[in-house]
């Protein structure tokens, strides 16, 4: 197998036209500047969505796995709603809540001049909400798999609930937390319905890979572009999944747990 990666600036009327030439065994894919912009935006949106939502996902997974409280069933349902609701509906609800005239959006705009709708940060919010159930499920399973007898032992050694979580539960659940985060990242990369409804499809601002692909499919001459982005999405997803497996394996080896 022979790899080649090269970047070139095209001379022509449009000086912003930069290409990335990825060639594998002689077959080459040329990404245009707008493709690259969509790719980078997708990665940025998915990264921000994953990192910002991860602490919340761990907290929710922990209380669902370990605590008994009034309203637990309701919390479980709320967390899972984005999984079963049509994404467009989720996007529309986000628009109602976080749009400039929305309940939360109006308040965010007037108090801290934060506008989410039709901004890339809004795309990150949509991606975070859509990937949240998947992340929580993976982390919850790994926390449930931690032996509660070890937590009891920690308590007899003087560990309160926080120390017990930080020194015993979280380290033992870490492979699952990483796997959950990467699963969420992969899901966030491909989010489309809620994103396009909530933040639209603005080039360089909210046009993620999925939205860019959608634009290509809507034009008669877009087949080639759609194919390019399909390959890119596929490569990115496979990479994220492989990384997730590799990290889980490494952590499992390190802690000696299976």
């Amino acid at each position: 197998m022979r790899w080649q990666l090269s970047a070139m600036g095209m001379t022509g009327r449009d000086s912003r036209y930069i290409c990335l030439n990825i060639s594998l065994n002689g077959c080459s894919v040329i990404l245009t500047s707008s493709d690259i912009s969509a790719l980078l935006l997708s990665v940025r949106v998915a990264s921000v969505a994953t990192f910002v939502s991860l602490p919340f996902a761990v907290a929710v997974a922990y209380v669902l796995a370990r605590r008994r409280f009034w309203g637990k069933g309701l919390l479980n349902i709320i967390v899972h709603i984005p999984l079963v609701l049509p994404p467009v509906v989720t996007g529309y609800i986000l628009l109602l809540l976080f749009g400039r005239q929305g309940v939360i959006g109006y308040w965010l705009d007037s108090c801290c001049s934060i506008v989410l709708s039709f901004h890339w940060t809004g795309a990150a919010l949509a991606a975070a909400i859509m990937s949240f159930p998947l992340t929580v499920r993976a982390i919850r399973l790994s926390i449930e798999a931690v032996d509660t007898r070890l937590e009891d032992a920690a308590a007899t050694l003087g560990a309160g609930p926080w120390s017990c979580f930080a020194y015993v539960t979280l380290p033992l659940a870490l492979p699952g937390v990483c796997a959950g985060a990467l699963l969420g990242f992969a899901k966030a990369l491909g989010e489309f319905g809620a994103t396009i409804t909530f933040v639209g499809n603005i080039p360089d601002e909210t046009r993620t890979l999925a939205s860019a692909l959608y634009v290509y499919t809507q034009s008669a001459s877009g087949d080639e572009g759609a194919f390019r982005l399909t390959l890119v999405s596929l490569a990115l997803s496979v990479l994220a999944l492989a990384l997730s497996e590799w990290m889980a394996q490494r952590l499992a080896d390190k802690t000696g747990l299976r």
């Binding site: 007898r149 070890l150 009891d152 032992a153 920690a154 308590a155 007899t156 050694l157 003087g158 560990a159 309160g160 120390s163 017990c164 020194y167 015993v168 380290p171 033992l172 802690t255 000696g256 747990l257």
Partner: protein, 224 residues
């Protein structure tokens, strides 16, 4: 001195005890399923009776009538479980340091200062410190578990069948260590066991338990 009153009804089991333990090492002796471990868990705060009262010296740890329930991590106990329950993600050394990491303040009036080197020496575990608990034999694991409990500077040591998971030969190897711990550190201990010879070697006071009831209480270490 530790005073325990507890009533607890589960679907197939009823516990009803009222006892004060005064020996340095008090053995709770009885067949498996008699409720010995449940009593130990109640003392540790890992289980709650429906009604009851637990007092250690002048500290009340549990009182259902006054809604007092001191959580396990504030009770200053050391608990040695039947299955050693070492933390698999930490080295032996870090298992032993665990209590030091998590316990913010010690209650010096309550607990005896126990020296790290003494514990390592008495239990003969210096050569195991950098190992992972997963690589240790059952007997070694149990010695580390005992060391870990001691290094939490407990006011009261609770031992739940620490030898039951070991074969006869290993048991005979570990018993002398337990005797040395008793002699060196003199920590009040509740020792749960169903093995007569173990109890007779270690205990100063024996409480015989069967079917959730106290059958007999005696001073001295020979069972009648």
């Amino acid at each position: 001195m530790i005073e325990i009153k507890a009533k607890l009804t589960l679907s197939s089991f009823e516990l009803d005890v009222d006892v004060a333990c005064e020996g340095l090492v008090t053995a709770l002796f009885g067949p498996s399923g008699s409720g010995k471990t449940t009593i130990l868990k109640i003392v540790a705060g890992l289980a709650q009776p429906h009604t009851g009262f637990v007092r250690f010296n002048d500290e009340i740890w549990f009182d259902s009538a006054r809604m007092i329930n001191v959580p396990a991590h504030h009770r200053h106990i050391g608990y040695v479980f039947q299955d050693a329950r070492l933390f698999p993600h930490l080295s032996v050394r870090h298992n032993l340091m665990f209590s030091q990491w998590v316990r913010r303040q010690r209650a010096p009036h309550l607990t005896k200062r126990i020296d790290w080197d003494d514990v390592i020496d008495v239990l003969g575990i210096a050569h195991l410190l950098e190992r992972s608990p997963l690589t240790l034999s059952g007997g070694e694991q149990q010695r580390i578990a005992l060391a870990r409990a001691l290094l939490s500077h407990p006011a009261l040591l609770l031992m739940d069948e620490p030898l039951a998971a070991l074969d006869a030969q290993r048991r005979d190897e570990i018993l002398p260590y337990i005797e040395r711990v008793k002699k060196t550190f003199s920590i009040p201990t509740l020792y749960v066991s169903h093995a007569r010879d173990e109890v007779e070697r270690i205990a100063d006071e024996i409480i015989r338990i069967d079917e959730g009831k106290i059958m007999q209480r005696q001073r001295g270490s020979i069972l009648i």
